[in-house]
Subunit: 394 residues, 2 copies
């Protein structure tokens, strides 16, 4: 690919993604929807300007999603997760278990294979931390108690969904072998467990050593090395690369605050991420929404995703008021990156069909679309109370 | 290229570049030398780990250099260039004219073709703004009068060298046609002139409109769109893409300060740039330094580059003291990015040979290597004076 050619694609992808993103924000929707839609429009099935099998563009997309998960990892404070206590953990656990069971049973009864059903179930597990946090932030509700529970739970279900993805990926790759499966579970637990518990402690001990670096932007450079290194390591030992970059973000938790890494990685992300969303969108065939059978599947998976997650959340917050249980449940509804990643992994392993990938994309789109109005509805009384004594929301 | 494979290359390239960079900084050399050396080591001619014809890696390198020139453009204040006055302009002009003439004549007398000689002459024109500024900054001399002159002159000779590159590139592409050549000159002047004079004014008028953007990081996103758009436009009208991204940086001069764009683009740059330097280094065959004929050429071009630039600077500062003339001349010595870019463009057009590209790389390496000790030597008395009343350097 020549420089001119490459630049043309870069300009078109980045600009379209951002214009569509701006339109979405103005319509009170998350910009991610716009970037995906830009991909749908530019992609193989509509305008055909970009080719979703283009090597160079897909490489930028891959690095983009690795940085996305790194950035999400940087945003998460392991301590805060434990601080919001049992409620968040229960919402996280039940919010994964119930969608997993309901999703699996539902798809399996429809006649799908075990692994394929597991992939679809895995794709509906993880709440999109970015999307729910952004919506709550935009509504000025980021310091609301429900927001803390949702953020904590979303962190946990992201981790669980990623482990689940690693497991399902392992299942899809080989025949089901108990030894390999157990090894994968142990590897996942060891990798994630070691990095979660000892990683941050080890990382914070390197600080006096980081201070001695003479290279410009040393802490940022080291964080990128860790991100790429753990991503590669995760890939080598059989986990997804994104789990590695995500864990890199967790590991440098404390240092991230000291060196403001979150804000530095943000700009690499801002540049690379549109390529991921656009290339993902380019895989969606919008004619799916016109075909009754596919439309039925999309709506079914969306209903299962919404109902099961809300049921899990409501069950987990047993001791809270009904209002709070509904608010929590609604905030857990949006699915995004992780679901799309799961779909993409399934697609690349030829475990799920293009059709099912389209269903996953459609579900992500629908759940993300319905959440903002639902959150506004669920918090309407609360917001009135909040808006009176300005800045006093707690 | 698979995700795992790609990640391996990314990890190796980024990590080696930064380790070598750190080593160079500790040896009081600019980190760019280390990144180039990492490329030489990893490249086709030594370890053979990375392939300098790899499509995906070269694409990252291309985007890296586009962002480098964008960042340099952002650092430059058009006003400051005019503020340091005539001296800087003269140093810039004569510091381009004399190396151009000396370089061209020298190579042409050695028997090289006109276009090839022009390419080599163009490669020795531009002082590396980043390198000289970094060295002066590290020595605490960034507020010295000579530093201002050098920064101003380096800006101007960057622009002149880029225009020269566009012209030489045009010459190399087709046969020499007066109409096309004039068109190219006019296009260069119109493109660079319009963007320099009206660009910043037009850009600053868009501020009320930028404020209305709802998308996250709107100003940063717009700046990237402008960078990619002007790079593509420059490429389409026959100039180099890097001139476009450089001009994008110039255009948003004022806005860059308001929205702190320089610091935001820096991190995209920090991530992408090592790929450029490493891939550039991968083209260098270190055996060139062992071969008498090539070593002679490298030394000859380096001597021409150093002597002509110092002569130009000394001639331009006619009214200053001899000490200041030598200081200015030495600070103008390092060649870097632009020279390598010129070499690369020449290589890609098959105008210069691999051998000559190696000579250009060797010259960049040598001039960058000798500058820091020379600057320390030239400013040694001054530094003693400065170090006594701390923080009073003017």
């Amino acid at each position: 690919m020549e420089a001119g050619n490459l630049l043309f694609y870069f300009f078109i992808i980045f600009t379209s993604a951002k214009i569509m993103g701006e339109i979405c924000v103005r319509l009170r929707m998350p910009p991610i929807i716009g970037e995906l839609m830009a991909g749908v429009l530019l992609g193989n099935y509509v305008l055909g300007i970009i080719d979703n099998s283009n090597h160079v563009l897909m490489s930028f997309a891959e690095i983009g999603v690795i940085f996305l998960m790194f950035h999400i990892g940087l945003e998460i404070r392991v301590k805060d997760l434990f601080a919001v206590g049992r409620t968040a953990v229960f919402v996280g656990l039940l919010g994964v278990l119930i969608p997993l069971i309901m999703g699996f049973l539902c798809m399996h009864f429809l006649g799908y294979q075990v692994v394929e059903s597991l992939f679809i179930a895995t794709a509906i597990l993880a709440t999109s931390v970015g999307i729910s946090a952004k919506v709550l932030q935009d509504l000025g509700l980021i310091k609301h108690k429900v927001a803390y529970i949702v953020l904590g739970a979303a962190v946990l279900d992201d981790i669980l969904a990623l482990i689940m993805l690693a497991l399902v990926k392992g299942l899809a790759k080989g025949e089901f072998q108990t030894v390999e499966f157990s090894l994968l579970v142990l590897e996942s637990i060891a990798f994630v467990g070691f990095l979660t518990w000892w990683g941050p402690k080890l990382a914070s001990r390197t600080r006096h050593w980081i201070e001695k670096l003479n290279i410009p932007e040393g802490p940022f450079v080291l964080s990128v090395i860790l991100c790429l290194g753990l991503a590669e390591l995760a890939d080598v030992i059989g986990l997804a690369a994104i789990i590695g970059s995500f864990m890199a973000g967790i590991v440098i938790d404390e240092l991230a605050g000291v060196y403001d890494l979150e804000n530095k990685v943000k700009y690499v992300n801002e540049f690379l991420l549109p390529f991921f969303f656009v290339m993902m969108g380019a895989h969606l065939d919008p004619r799916a929404f016109l075909e009754p059978r596919l439309l039925f599947l999309i709506l079914l998976v969306t209903v299962v995703a919404v109902v099961s997650k809300m049921a899990g959340s409501a069950l987990a917050c047993m001791k809270k008021s009904w209002k709070m249980r509904i608010q929590t449940g609604i905030c857990m509804v949006p699915r995004g990156e992780v679901g799309i990643i799961v779909g993409l992994v399934g697609l690349s392993l030829h475990t799920i069909t293009q059709e099912i990938y389209t269903v996953v994309l459609g579900m992500s789109l629908l759940t993300t679309l319905i959440t903002p109005p639902l959150i506004i509805w669920a918090f309407r009384t609360k917001r009135k109370n909040v808006s009176a004594p300005a800045g006093q929301s707690k």
